[in-house]
C-alpha cells in the first residue's frame, strides 16, 4: 500500500486542500477543518513511510508514467519524484510543524478577517515545500521553490498594515531576484549536461572533465539558495519579513521554510548533484561563521521579541551551514540534528511570542514583565524552547551544538569551533533577555486581567515543548538508525538520487 505510487500525494493533498478551502470558504468551519486535515494526512503519510522504509532504501516514481521512454531515449524523460533518507527526514519535520501550526492558527487567526485566505495560502506554501523535498528534477525544484515563495510573500503581507506591506515588498523583490539566479543556474546546468534529472546530472558531471562554467553555476545557485536561506550577506529581508507575518506563519517561515527552500536545496544540489566540491565547502564555512556572528550579535540589541527571534534564526542557520560545510559524516549529522532542533524550538518560540501578543497585544519586551504568573503554560513552554536554543543540557539543542563543535574540532577547524562556542554564549545572553524581561519581574497594572491562551494554542505549545525537552533521545542508537542515520547516508554516500 505504502510505496512509490503515493509519493505525489505529499504535493497533491495540500494542493487539493488549498483549492477546496477557497471553493468552500462560505461553509462554516470548513477552512479550519481542511487546513488541519490536510496537514494531518501528509504528516501521517510521512510517518507511515518512515516505518516502512528500510535503511538506505530509495523510492522513485515517474510522474505521468514517462518512465517507458527511458529505454527509447537513453535518458530519463519527464519528472521523477525521489524519496530517500534525507527527503523523509525533512518531510517529517515540515509536516509535523505544519500540523501543529495549523492547529494553533484555528484559535489564533480569529484575530484576523478572511480566515480562508490564510488557510489557502498556508496549504499552498506547504504543497510547495513538500514538492521541493520530493522532487528529483532541477526545473521542478525551481517551480516548487516559487510556489512556496509566492505563497509566503502573500502571507507576510497578510495583516496589510504599513509594516507588513513594506516587509513583504522587500521580501518579494529579493526573493524574486533569488529565483531568477536559481533559474539562470538551472539553465546553465541544463546546457552543460543536457538533462534536468539530478541523478543524470550527477552521472554526466562525474563522468566528464568539469567545464569552467560549473563555477558560474556554483555562484548562481549558492547566491540564489543562500538568499532563500537568509545567510548573512543575503539576509536583509528576514528580520523584516518574519516578524511582520502572523505568528503561526513566522513559525513556519523561520521553522521550516528557510530550511526546505534554502538549507535542503543547498544540501541536495551541492552534495547530490555536484558531489560536494572543496571550494563550496570553504564558501559555506565562511558564510556560516559570518552568519552565526552577525545574527547573534544583532539579536542582542533587539527589543521586539519577534525581531530578536528572527535574528536568532540567521545565527542558528549559520550553525547548520557550519555542520554541512565541514562535510564529514559527523558534521552532517550535527547539521541535520540541529536543523531538526531549530525547527522545533524556533517554531515554539514564535508561537509563544504569538501567544503573548494574543494575551497582551504587544511584542515589545520593555512593555512586558511578570507574565509567568498570568500565563503559566506560555512561560513554561518558552522556557523549554529558550533552554533548547541556548544549548543547556539536557535539552535537545545542547546535543546538536555539541556534535557540530566536536565535528569542527575533528576536522581541525579549531578557530571555527571556538567561534561556535563563543557565539553559543552570546545566544544564551540574548535568549535570557527574553525570559528575563517577558516573564520575570513586576507585572504591569494594565495586564492584571489577562488570561492564558485557548486550548488549541496550548496543545501546539505543549507538544513542541516536549519535543524540545526530549529531542536528545533521537541520538539513542535505536532511534538514530531509523531517522537520522539514513538522512546522513543520503548525503555522504551514493545513496542519493
Amino acid at each position: 500500500m505504502i510505496g512509490e505510487s503515493v509519493i505525489p500525494l505529499f504535493v497533491a493533498i495540500p494542493l487539493a486542500g488549498a483549492f477546496l478551502t477557497a471553493l468552500l470558504k462560505r461553509v462554516k468551519g470548513i477552512p479550519d477543518t481542511l487546513g488541519v486535515m490536510s496537514s494531518v494526512f501528509t504528516f501521517a503519510l510521512s510517518i507511515l513511510f518512515i516505518i516502512r522504509m528500510q535503511a538506505g532504501q530509495t523510492f522513485v516514481v515517474n510522474v505521468g508514467n514517462w518512465g517507458g521512454f527511458q529505454e527509447v531515449m537513453g535518458r530519463i524523460v519527464g519528472i521523477q519524484m525521489v524519496m530517500d533518507g534525507l527527503t523523509i527526514f525533512m518531510l517529517l519535520i515540515v509536516n509535523f510543524v505544519a500540523f501543529l501550526v495549523a492547529v494553533y492558527s484555528v484559535s489564533y487567526m480569529t484575530r484576523y478577517t478572511e480566515k480562508w485566505q490564510f488557510h489557502t495560502l498556508f496549504l499552498l506554501m506547504l504543497a510547495g515545500m513538500n514538492g521541493v523535498l520530493v522532487t528529483g528534477d532541477m526545473f521542478n525544484l525551481f517551480v516548487f521553490v516559487e510556489i512556496a515563495s509566492i505563497a509566503s510573500y502573500a502571507l507576510v503581507a497578510f495583516g496589510t498594515e504599513k509594516r507588513e506591506l513594506e516587509a513583504s515588498f522587500k521580501y518579494a523583490v529579493m526573493g524574486g531576484v533569488a529565483s531568477l539566479l536559481i533559474l539562470l543556474g538551472v539553465i546553465f546546468l541544463y546546457s552543460a549536461t543536457g538533462t534536468l534529472n539530478m541523478g543524470d546530472m550527477r552521472a554526466v558531471l562525474a563522468g566528464s572533465e568539469q567545464p569552467g562554467l560549473i563555477y558560474l553555476v556554483f555562484g548562481l545557485l549558492l547566491t540564489g539558495f543562500g538568499l532563500k536561506a537568509a545567510m548573512v550577506p543575503f539576509h536583509a529581508w528576514l528580520p523584516d519579513a518574519h516578524p511582520s507575518a502572523p505568528a503561526p506563519i513566522s513559525a513556519m517561515l523561520s521553522g521550516v521554510l528557510i530550511k526546505a527552500l534554502g538549507v535542503y536545496a543547498i544540501a541536495r544540489v551541492f552534495f547530490t548533484v555536484f558531489g560536494f566540491p572543496h571550494q563550496v565547502s570553504i564558501i559555506l564555512l565562511v558564510l556560516a561563521a559570518v552568519s552565526m556572528g552577525v545574527g547573534a550579535l544583532v539579536a542582542l540589541r533587539q527589543w521586539d521579541m519577534k525581531r530578536l527571534l528572527a535574528y536568532s534564526s540567521i545565527s542558528q542557520v549559520g550553525y547548520i551551514m557550519l555542520g554541512l560545510g565541514i562535510g564529514t559524516p559527523l558534521g552532517i549529522m550535527g547539521a541535520l540534528f540541529h536543523l531538526f532542533n531549530h525547527s522545533m524550538f524556533k517554531s515554539l518560540l514564535f508561537l509563544d511570542s504569538g501567544a503573548i501578543e494574543y494575551a497582551t497585544g504587544t511584542r515589545d519586551m520593555k512593555e512586558m514583565g511578570g507574565l509567568s504568573r498570568k500565563l503559566p503554560i506560555t512561560s513554561g513552554t518558552t522556557l523549554a524552547g529558550a533552554m533548547s536554543l541556548a544549548g543547556i543540557p539536557p535539552f535537545a539543542g545542547f546535543w546538536s551544538k555539541l556534535i557540530i563543535i566536536i565535528a569542527a574540532v575533528q576536522a581541525h577547524h579549531m578557530k571555527l569551533a571556538a567561534w561556535a562556542v563563543l557565539m553559543s554564549i552570546v545566544t544564551i545572553s540574548y535568549i535570557l533577555k527574553v525570559t528575563r524581561f517577558a516573564f520575570l519581574g513586576e507585572l504591569k497594572e494594565k495586564y492584571k486581567d489577562i488570561k492564558e491562551v485557548p486550548g488549541f494554542m496550548r496543545v501546539s505549545l505543549i507538544v513542541l515543548a516536549l519535543v524540545c525537552i526530549f529531542g536528545g533521545l533521537l541520538l539513542l542508537p535505536q532511534v538514530r538508525d531509523g531517522f537520522l542515520s539514513p538522512a546522513v547516508k543520503a548525503l555522504t554516500g551514493m545513496g542519493g538520487v
Partner: protein, 117 residues
C-alpha cells in the same frame, strides 16, 4: 562574433534589470527592473534551445525523422512555465504597490521607513 550577439543582449538586459532593482527609488521602477531581468532570463532559456536552421520538433508521417535538424523542444516548455511564474510574481508585486500607495500616498521607497534595526 555575430553568433554571440543575442547572448550579449541577454546579459545587457539582465544588468539593466538588476541595476533598476538596486538603484531606483520608485517602487514601480523596481518592479519593472524585476520584470526586465526576468525577460532576460527567459530569453536566455530560449537561446539555449536555438539551433541555426533548425525547425520545430514535430514529427509527422510524411517526413523523414531527423532529430539532428530540430531545435530542442524542452526549453520551450520550460519557458512557458517560467513566464507564468513571472506573471504571478509581477501581479503580486503590483498589487502590493497599489496597497503601499494607499497607505503612504507615495511610490518613493525611501519614504517607507517603518522597519528599522
Amino acid at each position: 562574433m555575430n553568433a554571440y550577439m543575442p547572448y550579449i543582449l541577454c546579459l545587457i538586459l539582465f544588468c539593466i534589470g538588476i541595476y533598476a532593482v538596486l538603484s531606483k527609488r520608485n517602487i514601480i521602477k523596481i518592479i519593472l527592473g524585476v520584470v526586465i531581468a526576468e525577460y532576460a532570463v527567459n530569453l536566455f532559456l530560449i537561446l539555449v534551445a536555438y539551433k541555426a536552421g533548425g525547425r520545430a520538433a514535430i514529427f509527422s508521417g510524411t517526413q523523414e525523422i531527423a532529430p539532428q535538424s530540430m531545435v530542442d523542444p524542452l526549453p520551450h516548455a520550460l519557458v512557458l512555465t517560467s513566464i507564468v511564474i513571472g506573471l504571478a510574481t509581477t501581479a503580486f508585486l503590483i498589487a502590493l504597490a497599489i496597497r503601499l500607495y494607499g497607505k503612504y500616498g507615495t511610490f518613493d521607497i525611501t519614504r517607507m521607513r517603518e522597519l528599522r534595526g
